[in-house]
Structures are given as C-alpha cells and as structure tokens.
Point group: C2
Chain length 305, copies 2
Amino acid sequence: MGLLVVGSVGLDTVATPFDKVEDALGGSATYISLAASYFTGPVYLVGIVGEDFPTRYINLLSEHNVDLEGLQVVQGEKTFRWSGKYHYDLNVRDTLFTELNVFEKFDPIIPEKFCRANFVCLGNIDPVLQARVLDQMVKPKFVVCDTMNYWIDGKKDDLMKVLPRVHVLIINDSEARLLAKEANLVKAAKKIREMGPEILIIKKGEHGALLFMEDIIFSAPAYPMEMINDPTGAGDSFAGGFIGYLHKCQDLSPASMKRAVIYGSALASFCVENFSTKGIEDLSYLRVQDRYREFLTLSKFDEND
Amino acid sequence: MGLLVVGSVGLDTVATPFDKVEDALGGSATYISLAASYFTGPVYLVGIVGEDFPTRYINLLSEHNVDLEGLQVVQGEKTFRWSGKYHYDLNVRDTLFTELNVFEKFDPIIPEKFCRANFVCLGNIDPVLQARVLDQMVKPKFVVCDTMNYWIDGKKDDLMKVLPRVHVLIINDSEARLLAKEANLVKAAKKIREMGPEILIIKKGEHGALLFMEDIIFSAPAYPMEMINDPTGAGDSFAGGFIGYLHKCQDLSPASMKRAVIYGSALASFCVENFSTKGIEDLSYLRVQDRYREFLTLSKFDEND
C-alpha cells in the first residue's frame, strides 16, 4: 500500500483577465497530492524547494495528510517559480518567466519508507527523473505518468524508455497528437498504447476526457462551468483525483477506472473554480461525492426503447 | 401528426484528401429527411430543384418514404450546387463554389396536406423563409430550427424574429458564441435561450453535443471514429435523427429529449462514415439501435460507492 507522488513544488505568479496572484502555491506534485488527499492518505510527496518556501504551504500540505519526508528543503537556494498570463478565452496562456532555481538540481531520492508504495504518480517532469524514481521502487503495482510537449519534443528517447514502465499515461489531446504524429485521436491512442502504457487517458479540457483501456473507450463529460478563474493545475488535479480514488479502492477494473476518470474530472473542475490551489484546499469527501453525482446527471441517458 | 422538413435540396461536389464525388445528392432538407426516415414516415419535404435533378435521387427519397409533393421542380432551371474541399484534419473546409440557381427564388409553399404537420424542422435557410414556413402552419407543436454564421452575421434581425417561434435551436459551438457574443458556452446558452428557444442544442463536432433544457444540461459524447470520410451533412443528419425520433415517440420530456440527442448523434456518425448521403441511405432501424447502445457503453459509469 501507499501512494507516492513525485513532481514539482513551486511558487506561481498567475494573471488572468479577472485577477492575479503572486507566489501562490503551485507545482505538479502539490496539486496531485492535494487532490489525492480527499481519497487516501498519507500521500508520500517527493519534491524539492528552497529555503524561501513559506511555512504556511508546508502546513497546508501537512494538514492534508501529505507526508513531507521526501520534500528536500535546500538552504541558501530559492524555490522553483513559474509565471503565466492567461488570455480572455483561458485556453491560451503565455509563460512570462520560469525560474528553475533549486529544481534544476532535483534528484528525486525516495525515502526508504516510500519505496514500498504500490501506487506511483509521476508528475510532469524530465522523463530521465521519472525513470530514476521507478528505479528506486521495490514493487510498483500501478504507475501513472504525466508528460508534456516539452519532453515529447526535447526528450523523446528518454520518454520512450519510461512509457513501457507505466500503466497509465495521462496527456492532453494536442500532446497525444504530437506524441503519435497522428491527428485522429482514436488512431493516436492505438499508437501510444503500443509504446507501452496499457491505459491511456486523453484530456480534452472543456470537452472532457477519453479513457482507452482493453477494448473499451470511455468518454467522460466536462463539467459545464460559467466561470473558470484559473486553469493552472487542472491536469494535475485530474491525475491526483484519478490515482487517489484508485488507491483508495484498490480496484483496477474498467468500471473502477471509469469512476476514477470522473473523480479526476471532478477534482479538476474544483481546481479551476479558484486561483492556485484554493479550489482544492477546502473540499470535503461529501462535496466531491456531490460533484460526482452531478457528472452522472450530466451524462446519463436511458436504454433505448 | 406529421413531420415537415424544409430546406435546401442540391447537388454537392466534395473533395477530401481521400476521395472526391461530383454532383452527389446534398442539401439540408435531403439529409434531415433521410435521417428522420429511420424513425417515422412519410416525411413531408418542401424544397426546390431544377429540371436537371436526377431521377435516381427522386427515387431514393421516395424509397425512404419521403413525400415529395412539396418539392418544386422548375423546368428550364438548374438545381442548387455547392462544392467544398476539406483539408486533412476535416474540421477546415473551403467552399469552392456556390451556385444558387433555382434556390435563389425559393418560396417555400407548403402543400395543404403538410400544413397540419405538428413537427417542423427548419433547415439552415434564410430566416425570412423560415418565418414564411411557420406562417403557413396551422398548429405547429414542436419546431426545430437550424441556422449558421452566415445568417447570424447577415440577417440577425430576421433571425431574432424566428427564434421566439421555435422550440429547439440546433447550432454548433462557434455559431453559439457568435450569436450570444459570449465565449463561455454555458453563459452563451443562457443568452440564446432568452432569445426564444426553450431548448438549445450545441453541437461540438468531434466533442459531442450539449443539450440545454429546463434547468438541465446534458452532455452527449461523440462517437469515436478512426475514419471520417466526409463531414458534409453531419449537422443535418443530427437534426433529422433528433426530430425523427421525437416525432416517432411524441414524447417531449427531458428523458426523451436526451435519447433524441443520442439518436441525432448516431445518425451524424453514420453520415460521416461515407461520402454524400451514402452513409445514411442503407441503414436499418436495427443498426441505428445498435449504435445507440454503443453510445450508452461509451458514456456509462456507475453510481459512486
């Protein structure tokens, strides 16, 4: 048992047409851990920050039962910082700056107690580091991996070595097209699954998500929102809700996997309702269940007559 | 009882990266009628063609129990022709030419026997003509209307006069954003329904469709396709399947409306599998039911536990 999450922990400065936050809590491991914490715990987090990382963020993670033994705090160094600006339609964003800082020398050392975790979520980091994480695990039963166009373009060979070692790859539609070099998503999914992951999830933002597993395709709806405040972290929240639910129920059947996709979608929908991690800081399992039921209402229709 | 369909009947010359057809059967009324014919009949068609309109197309429509009393055949004139070329990703198309020909003087005269139809499907034509159709109807119970950016841009005032007279508006996502002047689809839907139609369906192509009705939002998945041969007529086939099913069951409840959206999606998915009307010419009610069940499998997930 045990769920390990490895990824970035950082400070985000984000502007949308509606509001702005500075040095807010961010990073893939942060979002994944918080989202997963509504289903299971403790969540084992492995990441790196500088000495400027605010204590209140440490406390926030601890309060969510995130085990921070694997969070390296490097004295005399600064935390990873990212700044982005979203345009009016929120699907387009510009990166204003990326300061790798301490993240540049991140070597994911997995504390001994974490090495026996049977569920692993590899956040969107260099595939070389993702492989190094897996090297340290004793017997990982279920590995979920995120990646992005930056690694698909720049570290394809390393990524191709990671993919056969993961059970689920979660990427968005443009990344899937890029990775498979194929515009049609059904065909792209086939090609990507041949690269290693038995299960593929393609996130389509405001259009929901597709799950490919065995000979099944499952189409999850997107939660209809009148107001998206900050899309940052939606994908990571999805991954966290997804693996958190599966770790809780320890059931990897297709029916369970479909439910996990809906829970992932639910956490992503909470995430974008507010800036930074605000949308997933103060949830309850009850509220998550309510949103799950809303997804059910949204997509349910009768057998034909 | 009775289902009236009014729209264009034409000859399409379509090229995709995969194949090409010339002077194939086309037009909104054609697709709508054929799609609806799998649920109900006779379908009352009102349209106009020239003397060059091939007899084999007349026969095809008749074989599908389409009543052609309202099809004006104008001697000495040519049929409406449209030609388009699709790009590799099939979401982008160029219109190569549009020859209105006989369609330029189309005055939709509804034969007396059609005027008592209680279901009306207004294909994508000039809103002035759509209004003229409604003027002739005795007691239309359920009016479905399609339109497009061309009319939203060019005949907004006339369109705004039609909208309060229709029960369902079916448009695609970009048209919805244009009509409402609002990027967010949930907000756009609200604004559009305030213009008149109680029910709004927003088609999102490869991402499915959204139904807005009462305080319900229903998200229908798209059928995952490895090969789309010709997207022409997909929207009209959707409308035909939708209204055809509802006319068959005469049940306008939300549950029925959701089923109708799925039947519409099913007919659209058959349509794009083949060029022109080929994909919806030789179906059976059984095959349509099978595809409906595939949609169910695609989107069904359990209650949470």
